[in-house]
Symmetry: C2
């Protein structure tokens, strides 16, 4: 048993499940044991289309997946509104949970899920790939370098896309349906913006959050475009922009007293196995302002596993420690997810209150 | 006379005057005829240190420069609080005016200067170098391309620097003195942010401007760090950040429905004679989100004259048309300057009103 990799059950066959199934197969310490859909045919099609091993079990209901004693962990790509029910059941069945983001519709729901995980001794982690990329760790080292970067002053983050090749998006996609992913662009793209800001600030919660004027809601009241400003007690500031109405753009710019970090593909790297970022440190205009000295530096990071594979590997390592060695679940991950949810809640509240500043209470 | 280049008088020997004197010497249609300072020794030192031609006239007062009938145009690098007096006198002496930014402390003062220029038939242009760089025109072509860029949705602009090698800055520099450059970081770095946003929007004034919480004022009440959001009637939005408290960063990110423009050295290019920018058009994540297709494109633009030389050449061409051919001054430049001042005024008003949204009335 100690040598058995983490046996995943895939709960639902959303598009993103194809990517994560591949990641589970790529990770050295994990395997796909079962796939469940409300339709057994859909589950079987999914297994075939994604090259899952022939011994993969196919279930026609989520309940039967959860009843399988040979499943260690569930990967949950369900619409957000279904997370509370299925995440709590997953925990109660003592299965570890790797769930798509947003984990929940709000921090209250999140707390119910986290409580169920804690009470049942299972690990929870949200499926934010990019934080597991080795590039992300390198970038963080730069932000922590007091000589090269100094003190963090401001972060600007952006994740926008426009489904121009998919005009039915605004009618059909779960991301714009109030009963499925009610947080819209805020829960989807905004999750990355908020996470990137918290990542840069060592997960220090801001004191206030203010949505900026000019966002766009759908007729059903779902956020399609939203910007917000975050402010910390110590003077740090941040902005983020999330949208379904603007060309694909995925930037983090973090500025310290002495350094600046630029990355323009933080969500999904331009190329799968090599990613880069740019830094400047103590740059200045040259004499007579004829250029910069020093010039920016580009840093490339090669990887042997795509970022979602790194995520699965990290999650599976935690699960193996619990399963094989009786370790406790790592609290870092639910803490990070919860803070992300708290900030999303505050942005939503600020939109609802006509762009008033909203205080965050951790 | 028709062959005589535009004869500039330099009014004041600020640091930036060295850069612009060099630009005047580099421009094919301009020359430096005189330098004035309140101290004749300082003016003579400036002429020597900057390699001005031996026949350059040296004046110990601004009045004597303005009384020189052989001066066509004045370049004015004085502190902003002195602009109103000296700009109006310059116009009344029928001399064209190339002035450092901000042109005035507010739009009201600006209008007095612009009126004097109009009544006296002289050209006014503010000294914002980067808008004259051929790269800027190329970037604008991209923003105007309905196929590649689509409709402009949002702009984010940033100009921050931290004078870490110059700790006396916060005590000594004119940029933080309420009686000299009272607009502080907003008038200095913020001028570029506002201009870049107006440039991207074809100089359409926003409907509302809201300063964002968390800015920093000096003890004397001068803005050291400031962020603001701008919103247009048609749904376009923008943010900018200006600061004396964060590492040198000079970015424009403009996002349309189909395209994105990134430039990270818009104020002063990294290198004097070659500058680049990056675009993406209709980018998408590849199948299974393993990368992007197409990848971003980098565009390099080589120039034979630095951007401030391009500015002087463009200004001098207008002056020559007026002087030699009786043309009228080009109204585009005062219109652009005035809109920049109006937005600065609104940001300042929003800061003063505790971050309330301020409507802009053109």
């Amino acid at each position: 048993m100690a040598d058995t990799p983490v046996r995943f059950g895939i709960m639902g066959c959303a598009f993103i499940a194809s990517k994560v199934s591949r990641a589970i197969l790529l990770a050295p310490n994990a395997t796909v044991s079962a796939v469940a859909s409300r339709s057994i045919d859909k589950a079987a099609d999914f297994a075939r289309a994604n090259g899952l091993p022939p011994e993969t079990k196919i279930y026609g209901s989520y309940e039967s997946l959860l009843d399988d004693p040979d499943i260690d962990a569930v990967y949950m790509p369900l619409p957000t509104s279904l997370h509370l029910k299925w995440a709590v059941l997953t925990a109660q069945k003592k299965k570890h949970l790797l769930t798509e983001k947003p984990v929940a519709l709000n921090a209250g729901e999140f707390d119910e899920i986290a409580k169920a995980c804690e009470e049942n001794g299972v690990q929870i982690m949200d499926g934010t790939f990019w934080v597991h990329h080795p590039r992300t760790h390198k970038m963080k080292q730069f932000l922590e370098d007091k000589e090269l970067f100094g003190e963090l002053k401001t972060i600007n983050s952006c994740f926008t896309y426009f489904p121009y090749a998919y005009p039915e998006f605004f009618k059909d996609n779960i991301r714009v349906k109030p009963d499925l992913d009610a947080l819209g662009a805020l829960g989807d793209a905004g999750w990355y913006g908020v996470r990137s800001i918290l990542w840069a600030t060592d997960y220090a919660l801001p004191k206030t959050v203010t949505a900026l004027r000019g966002g766009v809601l759908s007729e059903a009241g779902v956020i399609l475009d939203c910007r917000a400003s975050l402010e910390w007690e110590d003077g740090k500031t941040a902005t983020f922009h999330c949208s379904f109405l603007s060309n694909l753009t995925t930037d983090i710019t973090a500025i310290g007293t002495y350094g600046t970090l630029h990355v323009t593909d933080f969500v999904i790297p331009y190329q799968e196995l090599e990613a880069s970022y740019t830094t400047t440190s103590r740059s200045n205009f040259k004499e007579l302002f004829t250029g910069w000295a020093p010039l920016p530096s580009e840093h490339a990071v090669a990887v042997d596993l795509p970022q979602e594979g790194c995520m699965v590997r990290e999650f599976a390592d935690l699960v193996l420690s619990i399963r094989n060695n009786g370790a406790k679940p790592d609290k870092k991950w639910p803490i990070i997810s919860r803070k992300t949810q708290l900030v999303l809640d505050a942005v939503k509240a600020s939109v609802d209150k006509g762009f008033e500043a909203v205080e965050i209470v951790g």
